[in-house]
């Protein structure tokens, strides 16, 4: 029997549907999540199965309904909040950082906040500066939160199920350009633990540590590198927090050369942390400085020829890797 394939969007939807069937406390809260199924149509069909009590359309009040989710999570439910564009998390920072992330600790472990915030990241959609950011670094900086960055339909489903079952606030970033990406997803139930990196492709000469959208870019670059006789290992941390440092460092020690890729801004970003972890952990094994590649340090421009140069591509990663390997 051929393996079943789902799109990334379908995998997300299936994870939600399964968890909503399993646990009546799980519900969805967000703008145009019900009949519209979100502008990306990721949630299509859920309101038909679960009703408008569990797939709840909200006003355009990101701060307000994120706060509602925190309170609902504390009192026995498992909200999954939908923030349409990752750029709008700006409006939820107080509720996520000063409330959700700290409630468990501040209360001496007495209250819990089992909620998930699903949101998006990624540029090159011609959506300009306020709809193209990849702001995962902010939440990764905050103790009390977990941050998930799935890169395949398989991972999206397994990680989302774990995120929903987790007793902590978890932020789940989906690359909006990846929703139509297809990949194998088994029929049988499975979950993927948070905090375990995945070697997406084994290799010996160079390690490409990549998150979310950049995993596909890294895999593409690895293909190009192979033609030059360079064997690249692609490592996907899958969660920036908790972070599976060991798998990253092991790979770096093996290959001695590392590029770190994330679609967020490189400066004070996810690549800074991953590079620092690798540079420290594999200090005596590296043949070259860890190279970081992220979004150019500019607001994302609208104009296509400009936007296209702001994010790493297979070709630019290939070029950097080739040079690092001395070819």
């Amino acid at each position: 029997m051929p393996e079943r394939e789902l799109t990334f969007a379908q995998a997300v939807r299936e994870a939600l549907a399964e968890e909503m069937r399993r646990d009546s406390g799980v519900f969805i809260l967000g703008e145009d999540v019900a009949e519209a199924g979100t502008p990306f149509k990721v949630l299509s069909g859920l309101v038909e199965e679960f009703g408008s009590q569990r797939v709840v359309d909200t006003p355009i009040s990101e701060a307000g309904f994120t706060g509602v989710a925190v309170g609902a999570a504390m009192t026995g439910m498992r909200p999954v909040v939908d923030i349409m564009f990752g750029d709008f998390i700006t409006l939820t920072m107080d509720q996520m950082v000063n409330q959700a992330a700290k409630v468990h600790y501040m209360s001496g472990g007495h209250w819990k906040v089992p909620m998930v915030m699903r949101t998006t990241l990624g540029a090159t959609r011609r959506s300009a500066a306020q709809h193209s950011q990849s702001l995962q670094a902010w939440f990764s900086h905050v103790p009390g939160l977990k941050v998930v960055l799935p890169s395949t339909p398989y991972d999206a489903k397994g990680l989302l199920k774990s995120a929903i079952r987790d007793d902590n606030p978890v932020v789940f970033f989906e690359d909006k350009m990846m929703y139509k990406l297809k990949g194998p997803v088994p029929e049988e139930e499975y979950t993927i633990p948070l905090g375990v990196a995945d070697i997406k492709r084994a290799g010996d000469d160079i390690t490409l540590i990549a998150t979310s959208s950049m995993v596909q870019v890294a895999l593409g670059a690895a293909n190009l590198l192979l033609k030059e006789g360079i064997s690249a290992e692609v490592v996907d941390p899958r969660t920036t927090w908790p972070l599976d440092e060991k798998t990253l460092i092991d790979s770096a020690q093996k290959t001695s050369r590392v590029i770190v890729l994330d679609e967020g801004y490189g400066r004070y970003g996810v690549t800074s942390e991953l590079a620092a972890v690798v540079a420290e952990g594999a200090f005596y094994d590296l043949d070259a400085p860890v190279k970081r590649m992220g979004a150019m340090h500019v607001p994302i421009p609208f104009s296509p020829p400009l936007e296209d140069v702001t994010v790493p591509t297979e070709e630019t990663v290939f070029e950097v890797a080739r040079k690092m390997c001395g070819k």
Binding site: E31, E35, T58, P59, S61, Q130, H297, F302, S303, V309
Partner: protein, 334 residues
């Protein structure tokens, strides 16, 4: 609160009045034809990304901007083409911006949702719902504190009523008696959800609670819009304080150009009725004809002139070059 859906009987015709309504007609038509071409560029895959069309709501932007001076400020929204054109932007540089060309108002960096133009007091369209309420209020703060008599108009859709910052700044504006007018374009829908499902209580009550002057107007009737806007602008200019104007209106098309199948959230019948019975351009045309300000031929002439301008503007934009790739790192910092 005042409800302004009717006009006092017209006084004697003046040349200025006559000229004004013809200018208003031309502006509304410019927006309508501009948007038709935006849609056309989209369907022909000549425009990158999406755009949110203003067709059906022209009377709001034009009626209000006609009450403003060029040095007054506006802030606009994701559905901003109408506001920008009404405040004085020219279609050629607008189209250029929509296509990401260097000749665009933002050198192609902003696109449809970020058109801004100091020359016409346009502080910028804004892709964050409610994102510009603070900016408009700040411009009014500045106008007052620099001892000018400028006024700021903040356009937003009724969806922005969901954003708490609107209430924060209305409180500030009223405390400080700032010359800002909050214009709520109630086109009935927040994306794909009817506003009644997202809006408890009343719209005007939300401004009145802060002591802000409120008014409601039929947003399809440009003369009504203009009349109440003129009054509120005059009041603001004279340091009378902020106001909140609700304009009931309708967007003819989808939430954006790609929103084609809309029947799950609104009926074709509803759209048909608005387009045929409540069209702002037709309502004004009837007035112009009734009053003898224009005849069918002169209206046709205006239409064909506007069409010519718009078509030339489209061509200008299509032919214009993209910015040089090196520009990507320019203008991050001033």
């Amino acid at each position: 609160m005042t409800i302004a859906t009717m006009h006092p009987e017209a006084g004697p015709v003046t040349a200025a009045e006559h000229e004004k309504w013809l200018r208003v007609y031309r502006k509304m038509l410019t927006i309508r034809l501009f948007e038709e071409h935006v849609n056309d560029l989209y369907t022909r895959a000549l425009m990158p990304g999406l755009a949110h069309l203003y067709s059906g709501e022209e009377a709001v932007a034009v009626g209000i901007c006609e009450a403003l001076r060029i040095d007054d400020y506006i802030t606009s929204t994701h559905r901003g083409h109408g506001h920008c054109l009404a405040k004085g932007a020219s279609p050629d540089r607008m189209f250029a911006e929509l296509l990401g060309k260097e000749a665009g108002y933002c050198r192609g960096k902003g696109g449809s949702m970020h058109i801004a133009d100091p020359a016409t007091g346009n502080l910028g369209a804004n892709a964050i719902v409610g994102g510009s309420v603070g900016i408009a209020t700040g411009a009014a703060f500045s106008a007052k504190n620099r001892a000018t008599d400028r006024v700021a108009v903040c356009f937003f859709g009724e969806g922005a009523l969901g954003q708490g910052s609107l209430y924060e700044v209305m409180n500030l504006a009223q405390l400080w008696k700032l010359p800002v007018i909050y214009v709520c374009e109630n086109n009935q829908y927040n994306e794909y959800t009817h506003y009644r499902e997202t809006t408890a209580g009343t719209i005007l009550g939300r401004a009145a609670a802060f002591g802000v002057e409120t008014a409601l107007v039929d947003g399809q009737d440009v003369r009504a819009v203009h009349e109440v806007a003129s009054r509120l602008v005059k009041r603001a200019r004279a340091r009378g304080g902020p106001a909140f104007l609700q304009c009931d209106t309708y967007r003819y098309g989808g939430h954006h150009v790609g929103d084609i199948n809309r029947e799950y959230y609104r009926s074709k019948q509803e759209e048909y009725l608005w387009k045929t019975e409540r069209d702002p351009i037709r309502i004004l045309a009837n007035f112009l004809l009734d009053r003898g300000y224009a005849d069918a031929a002169s209206l046709d002439r205006i239409t064909s002139e506007v069409r010519t301008t718009i078509e030339a503007a489209v061509k200008f934009a299509i032919d214009a070059p993209y910015p040089d790739v090196d520009e990507v790192e320019q203008d991050v910092y001033a």
